[in-house]
Symmetry: C2
Subunit: 396 residues, 2 copies
């Protein structure tokens, strides 16, 4: 197997897929794309999803979960809208999602259960079913490889740029492709906005394998920018595998590990794009914790630092205020001895054994004055490590 | 007993106290007050303290804790500086706090253990002992009832206004007084900045009673704006009881409950002033949760809502976006059925049984457009309740 490499393309670059997007009038801005359809021509398209852990779940999340369960992971279409989350909308909202799936299924010649649904936007406001039903025939008519280009734009809400990634690898004489689009962004904590991601692949993957691989990839990527349980009502990651490449991924085989590596890389790329697009963000920051007693402790420290507004504003100003970093670690709940802690930006020591490392302020500022940087914390308590991506916080 | 009433005054309005403040040059702004001394003339002055739960504790916190333990709660002076937190400063930092206490004790004719120390300001930078030692004689010379007026200003860092409160009540022919000053403020989460409060009273209270009463008062006030464990390196609340009123507070007696009521009221007033002074704040918001299964659940929901940047910006814009409130409750970790939840601003229904209450948008905005308001959430799951104070978040 060769490594996965990034290539030009869209959600329909993996074989077997077509997609389209339209302006259905759900967003307030006239002519803004807000409804997209992703479709697989392959009869045996496997599907898997990961959803919000919020106790309040939107209607489309409930319905997609149900459809994946009922079909045991076979689905051929995703219909997604932006501009309205269809969350906190009660029985009427669920009906809207159901009717959407039913109408799309009819036009595509599928069972309604083979259609997954996702929404993002304002909460608590009824989603007008008519706006969607009116445009479904147009969407189905426009399904094509080229039109898949529009999907990332159609799922944006407060995002300042579209997020997509396509990866390809060679498997003998054949090639396999993975593509993904995402939306996220939002305020201050990237974790507070709805995160959607849709992934297509032409590998042939059984639903159970697809589900397990997706879970691992999401835990190492989107959940690295999202606090467990600290999610919106609509967070959704869906993957469809058409099998059209003719390359089969088998559980326990080598193919499983290269497919897992590709899916992990794709999800990490999309997750980093989301972190980068946090409102008021000018830098992409990785927080790496080493030497923790347990992985849970490493995670706690990384998240506390990544979410501290005081740390984030210091990063925005390239201010080497490592005391704020140590303070955030201190309230994270992790067990450690402050007198042992090292703190670095990239390879530059700010704090050694809990004390100022005696650095030159200008040198430190130069190190911090980069668009991508890593804050490294070594607790010197054990061997566990963890990493979180975040952004800085400017006053814009 | 009469009720406690707010009166004019300062930390030296309770009998037995004097105080003073000077500009010692610790703050960068020339002439800014940054060092204060609070002193009790009464030989048997009881003292109690509550400190940060952060794993990283500043030198003055370590020293004050130690002094209160060694003396079993007898202390007659507090020396506090702003401009430098003396945190993450290692053994040298502890020596600085010790020398400060020792020098103050010598000038005041006390044992060093009778002097408590507090600091607030930048972390990780050595605090210059000389700046303090140079000014201690001036401070001691200037100790007076009038000069106590300067203390709240001397402990400010990013605070935009000084915070103090004085309460008086009549106990038979005598009157008892409680006074307090505080500093807090900071960024976005009020909880992220150092919180200091110093309280004086002329009631006679045994150290153990004083400690227990203080703990209850802090839990119902400062800890209502501060997440447990989510505290700065320097958070400190100290109380000194001179006994100079001649009125004794006895454990288990009626006097214990009126004293507790007064201390609770004083701490709540100061805590609300801190919440009001959050950076970018224009409103003081109480988040009240009812109908929770357990007090812990009520607390989780209240804190999740109070700390949600999405909720806080909606509040700033008087935007009746109750979906954001329900979403925050959903990721709080509390157990509840979203379909049962009511959400109100003051007495105005925004959401009834998980759905839009069908309110008039202008009416809702008028209700939200107040300087003080209450967000009320009824989970309809049980009988537990909880309350948190917070502020909105404007873009200033």
């Amino acid at each position: 197997m060769c490594a996965w490499r990034e290539v030009e393309g869209n959600l329909a670059t993996p074989r077997g897929f077509r997609a389209a997007a339209v302006a259905a009038g759900i967003k307030k801005v006239a002519g803004a794309l807000d409804l997209a359809l992703i479709f697989s021509d392959a009869r045996d398209t496997a599907a898997a999803g990961m959803f919000t852990t919020n106790r309040v779940t939107a209607a489309p999340v409930e319905l997609s979960r149900r459809h994946l369960k009922e079909t045991r992971g076979w689905a051929r279409a995703v219909i997604v809208n932006s501009g309205n989350a269809n969350a906190c909308t009660g029985a009427e909202g669920l009906r809207t999602s159901q009717e959407t799936a039913r109408a799309a299924a009819k036009l595509l010649g599928l069972s309604p259960r083979q259609v997954l649904v996702a929404s993002t936007g304002v909460i608590g406001v009824p989603l007008k079913l008519d706006l969607i039903l009116n445009q479904l025939p147009v969407l189905v008519r426009n399904l094509s490889i080229e039109n898949a280009e529009d999907v990332p734009r159609a799922i944006r809400t407060t995002d300042t740029f579209s997020k997509s990634c396509v990866l390809r690898t060679e498997a003998g004489v054949r090639s396999v492709c993975l593509a993904g689009v995402a939306k996220g962004a939002g305020m201050i904590h990237p974790r507070m906005a709805t995160m959607l991601a849709f992934i297509t692949t032409d590998a042939a993957v059984a639903p159970t394998v697809l589900r397990d691989t997706l879970r691992a990839a999401v835990n190492g990527s989107f959940n690295r920018i999202t606090v467990d349980g600290d999610t919106s009502t609509n967070d959704t990651v869906l993957v469809l595998a058409s099998g059209a490449s003719g390359v089969t991924v088998r559980s326990g085989a080598k193919s499983a590990s290269w497919f897992a590596a590709g899916l992990a890389e794709l999800c990490q790329t999309l997750a980093k794009l989301i972190a980068k697009d946090g409102e008021g963000a000018s830098k992409l920051v990785a927080v790496e914790v080493r030497g923790a007693k347990t992985a849970a402790d490493a995670d706690r420290v990384a998240r506390a630092i990544a979410n501290s507004p005081l740390v984030k504003t210091a990063l925005a100003g390239s201010d080497p205020n490592w005391g704020r970093i140590l303070c955030a670690a201190g309230y994270s709940g992790a067990r450690f001895d402050p007198a042992k802690v090292d703190i670095l930006v990239n390879d530059f020591f700010l704090c050694r054994a809990g004390l100022d490392a005696g650095f030159d302020d200008d040198d430190a500022r130069r190190e911090l004055d980069q668009k991508q940087l890593t804050i490294r914390i070594d607790l010197h308590q054990g061997r566990a490590s963890g990493r979180i991506w975040t952004c800085d916080l400017t006053h814009d």
